[in-house]
Amino acid sequence: MNAATPLPPKPVADRDTQPFWDAVAERRLVVQRCSKCGRWIWQPRPLCPTCHAADPVWTDVSGDARVVSWTVLHPPVLTVWHDKLPFVILLVELDDAPGVRMIGQLVDAAGDLLQTDGTAQGIDFGAGVSLRWRVDEAGQTLPAWTVS
């Protein structure tokens, strides 16, 4: 890839978020959970905001989820996505971690970004979705979801 190749935004981890991205590299989805009060925590934080216990435990989840909301993107977007439009971005709530909502792209069963005809591909409130792993244009692995 030369300098002119358009790229997507690159996630930059810090000490508090590195374990999430390390797990993603192994194709595992993890979410923090407080070992003291049991609260699920998202986005990652160094302390439990409810009881202030340190070191919330990174906990494996299945990634099974329900659709909370969605949008279908149209131009203008970043150059890297020009020829992939329209595609769908989901806000999903994880079945294993109540209250935890994540952003992810709608992909096909193989994990490739689903270019749509402009519709949301039958996505609706509460629709069941399953975790897939998408490798983006820069080689970055990202959690993504497909219709169950």
Binding site: K10, P11, A13, V68, L73, H74, F87, L91, M102, I103
Partner: protein
């Protein structure tokens, strides 16, 4: 309980804005300086009178740089407020608080932004840190992408339709058509055009999004006891009060991880504003609502109690609906991070709006919502 000293009430004594354009042909430091000098002239003051400068964090020119450019000899009060367009009323509040405390008598607040010629900020941010690392690589890049997911929830929760949003776009376009300063002064809009326009981030179409503008505006705030002696060109607009708010677990633009999904920071600003001002919705004659996106308008009316929860869209269609965004707002006058709404609020009170409402006693101006934000009330009469 707020403490009120009539001598220390902040007064908007001068306002100024440069003509809006797609390419203003000067730096933001240059246009900002001209806006500030114009506002001082409107107030009958000079740079030698200025003791405080406050700005948006997103303003690329610092207070010190602006003091150097304009020749302000000494700043006794300065600072900046964060969170994009949410910073408008909070930046004014930062100056007002210093005036009320008696720390300074004269402050200037400005916003200059080359949001058109300077390019789209979202297109250049390729490293996603902090909250962005869980959003931008996944496609939530433009402000419209972030709010679209929340708008869909509001539509479901409140029964809002695209036609409701279209009515907002058409109403403010009508105001812009009467405003010789407005970017959209010569372009009309009807429902057919609205519904036929292209999607940007579904359910938001082109006309649900604000403009991309180069602009520069400033206001001068003066303690009431000092304002009495001024040779200002217009009557004063009194700052009756203001409030800031975040709500729990707030995220800028992507406020969807907290327990109360769909809540916006303005829901927390509203009760504080009414408490701090001693006013209620029935006291308000006209409002300037931060309108980067049309759905923020019906949301305002229900969050601030002009109607019941979920009744924002019905309220807009009813006879009770008071005039809003009378200069054309961010959707049709200019998008300068909401500062044109602050200036228009002052004009409605002074009596020199292009869509002047009769006998304005109080007006509310809000900052960008779904980010930490604030609101203020400008009034014809002092405390």
């Amino acid at each position: 309980m707020t403490i009120r000293n009539k001598n220390r009430q902040p007064v908007v004594a001068g306002v100024h804005g440069l003509p809006y354009s797609k390419d203003i042909g000067m730096t933001e430091r240059h246009s900002g300086a001209l806006a500030i000098l114009g506002a001082l002239d409107d107030a009958g003051l000079t740079v030698n009178d200025v003791e405080g400068l406050t700005r948006y964090v997103w303003q690329p020119t610092t207070e010190m740089e602006m003091a150097r450019v304009t020749g302000i000899p000494n700043l006794k009060w300065f600072g900046a407020q964060d969170y994009g367009g949410g910073a408008g009323p909070p930046t004014v509040a930062l100056a007002c608080a210093a005036i009320e405390l008696g720390l300074i008598d004269v402050a200037v607040v400005w916003r200059s932004r080359n949001r058109s010629s300077g390019g789209r900020p979202w297109a250049g941010q390729m490293l996603a840190e902090g909250q962005d690392q869980f959003e931008r690589p996944f496609g939530i890049v433009r402000p419209a992408d972030g709010i679209a997911l929340i708008v869909r929830l509001w539509m479901k929760q409140f029964g809002w339709t695209r036609e409701d949003f279209g009515q907002v776009a058409i109403t403010v376009r009508g105001h812009a058509n009467r405003n010789p300063m407005a970017m959209m002064r010569a372009k009309t809009l009807d429902m057919e055009q609205y519904l036929a326009s292209r999607m940007i981030a579904e359910p938001l179409c082109l006309f649900d999004n604000c403009l991309e503008t180069d602009g520069a505006l400033a206001i001068v705030l003066v303690a009431a006891e000092r304002a009495r002696d001024l040779n200002a060109k217009h009557p004063p607009a009194y700052v009756t009060g203001y409030a800031l708010g975040s709500g729990p677990e707030v995220y800028a633009m992507t406020n969807y991880y907290g327990e109360r999904l769909g809540d916006s920071p303005n829901a927390y600003v509203a009760p504080e504003l009414w408490k701090n001002t001693g006013l209620k919705p029935e006291d308000i004659d006209v409002v300037q609502i931060y309108d980067a996106f049309t759905p923020q308008v019906p949301l305002f009316f229900q969050e601030f109690g002009f109607c019941g929860e979920g009744e924002g869209a019905q309220y807009l269609k009813s006879d009770e609906c008071i005039p809003y965004n009378t200069s054309g707002g961010g959707l049709s006058e200019a998008y300068v991070h909401g500062f044109n709404l602050i200036v228009e609020g002052a004009r409605q009170v002074r009596g020199d709006s292009p869509s002047q409402v009769e006998d304005v006693k109080h007006t509310v101006v809000t900052g960008g919502n779904v980010v930490p934000t604030g609101a203020l009330v400008l009034s014809k009469e002092p405390w």
